[in-house]
Amino acid sequence: MTALAAAPTPAIRAVPWSRLGWVVWRRYRTMLMATIGCLALIGVYLIVNGERMRAAYHATTSCRPVNAPSCAYAFQTFHDRYAQTGLIGAVLLFLPGIVGTFVGAPLLARELETGTFRYAWTQGAGRMRWAVALVVSGGLGVAVIMTAFGALITWHNQPLLDTGDVPRLHTTSFPETGTAAAGWALAGFALGVLAGLLWRRVVPAIVTAFAAWFGLAYLAATFLRQHYLAPLTTTSLDLPLKDVRISQWWSKGGVRVSTDHINTVLSAIGSQFSSDGGKVTVGVPGADVDPTQYLLQHGYTQITSYQPDGRYWTFQWIETGWLAALALLLLGAAFWLLRRRPA
């Protein structure tokens, strides 16, 4: 347009990022302090409990002689006392989603809900710079805080892992440890930002974003995670407890056999495998032949597919990677909408 060239002050520079950073700090410092305060409470609990657990584990492992019943009892007591994490375990599992959505959703939604966007977006900096400053600061804050938390939870869980019978890859301990904690928090943050822009109201945005985050976490745990790498298979009957079992079946001469076939064979000793994946044997009361041993003696092999504990960090990076990519995609969509959306 020719008129644009005739604009009296064509060489206006943009408001510097440093100033916008200051604005974000001024605007959100109270919220930041409150968030850090709440998380510090959980952090202190984790440190105290982690130290207690370490002391208890040390006492257990230094029990001599190792085979004495009192030592076995001490180990069992340690396990019973600390392996069930209860309420705090549930809080930690949802923490990345809670932190992410509670920081992300109000970021744009509050401005839209209270009308202050009419002030903020008409200042010299303009709406895109303002939004970028907010989202980048918020995202970095969430990532830093949850990376620290992921490390803290990993540290906290270490004595349990040292026992060798708690799987790190398990659904209830994988997503909130390592780097995945930050990944899940960022995904929640991005969902929150987008929901806030669509709803234009804080509370529905938080609810929607958290529901979406929960759905995603459920899908990832149920269907996705076990396929990050092809599972290994073993014929061993005593796979270490720290490895995560995926499924189990029988084969003969290198060919997988059906549960029906196995049941036909087992009918000779009056036993049956239950139909759900062939894992559980149902013996006839009074029968003294172990069905598994019976099958092994008749040339059948039990095969277990599993994800080994050693893949923990590979899986962490894969999960963090796709979550970060998803977060960027969602934030990209939010910015695209923001640029086009009428006020």
């Binding site: 644009l4 604009a7 100033r19 009419r118 002030y119 008409t122 303009g126």
Partner: protein, 296 residues
């Protein structure tokens, strides 16, 4: 230079046009009153001008050609939205810092002086101020940006008469001191009459009046005669017509200020409020009282 220029501008929300076919050019240096009934598209037009809303069709440029919402436009236009949005939990001092850091230019000394004169303390929370003080704070923040165009959307609607007067006094002082152009929307015609020198009137999403007040007053006359027939043949447009007793009164927009009127009729000048009211009533009265309908 025109502070606002639009061509075929329209904005649609869903299937409803909030504003359409809006072609305007508002020269610099005026206090422009943007008038229209509720829902006429005033806020939509102002949102388009300040770049909050992109147009559905047409174009809007500001300050001699800058695209609305561009960096240059944002830098030079200060906007005070309806209901004075402020961060309620921030102190007055924080709001000053905030606005200062969101803009390249900010006259903090001016802002502090103004707020001190108004008795608004630095430590007070923006949300705890009275309605009048909030309006003054929002206006001060806008003026301290040293804009070339100040856009105010229904600024005085929530204020009591004293606060309204003080608010307008601040606006007029800024106009006199800095030469800032002002566009303000309102439906408080009586108040605007004293201060405005340019009128834009929107009705049913369309621009009906876009002119200098002096010009408008010169071109509009209320003519009266005993029969409507005596009023036909005047070069101009009948804006409003009604019959009271034996007399027919018509508000006519003359083709030119010196258009001749028939000797058989009386005529008088009209005030701005009277003139604007005639246009605002237009949509309602047109079907029954249009000159064509009246003469048939």
């Amino acid at each position: 230079m025109n502070v606002i220029e639009t061509a075929g501008l329209g904005r649609r929300y869903g299937s409803t046009w909030a504003l359409r076919d809006c072609t305007l050019s508002i020269p610099a240096g005026h206090l422009v009153a943007l008038v229209g009934p509720n829902g006429a598209g005033k806020s939509t037009l102002l949102n388009l001008v300040v770049g909050l809303t992109p147009p559905t069709v047409g174009e809007v440029t500001v300050l001699g050609g800058a695209t609305a919402g561009s960096v240059a436009a944002l830098d030079a236009i200060a906007f005070v939205a309806q209901d004075m949005p402020l961060y309620r939990h921030l102190s007055v001092a924080d709001m000053l810092h905030l606005t200062g850091n969101l803009n390249l230019r900010f006259d903090a000394a001016y802002a502090r002086r103004r707020l001190a004169e108004l008795g608004i303390g630095n430590k007070q929370k923006a949300g705890k101020l009275s309605g009048g003080q909030q309006a003054q704070l929002a206006l001060t923040l806008a003026l301290a940006r040293r804009p070339r165009l100040l856009v105010l959307d229904e600024p005085t609607a929530p204020l009591d008469p004293v606060a309204r007067h003080d608010f307008m006094a601040t606006v007029l002082t800024a106009m006199a001191d800095d030469g800032v152009s002002v566009v303000l929307s309102s439906h408080l015609l009586a108040e605007l009459e004293r201060v405005t020198d340019y009128l834009v009137l929107i009705s049913h999403g369309r621009v009906r009046v876009n002119d200098d007040v002096e010009n408008l007053l010169a071109c509009h006359r209320l003519v009266s005669a005993a029969t409507p027939e005596r009023l036909t043949g005047i070069a101009g447009e009948v804006i409003e017509s009604n019959t009271m007793g034996s007399q027919t009164h018509q508000l006519i927009r003359l083709a030119a200020p010196d258009t001749a009127l028939p000797p058989t009729c009386e005529s008088r000048a009209v005030g701005l409020e009277e003139l604007a009211l005639a246009y605002l009533r237009e949509g309602i009265t047109l079907p029954t009282l249009s000159p064509a309908g009246a003469s048939r």
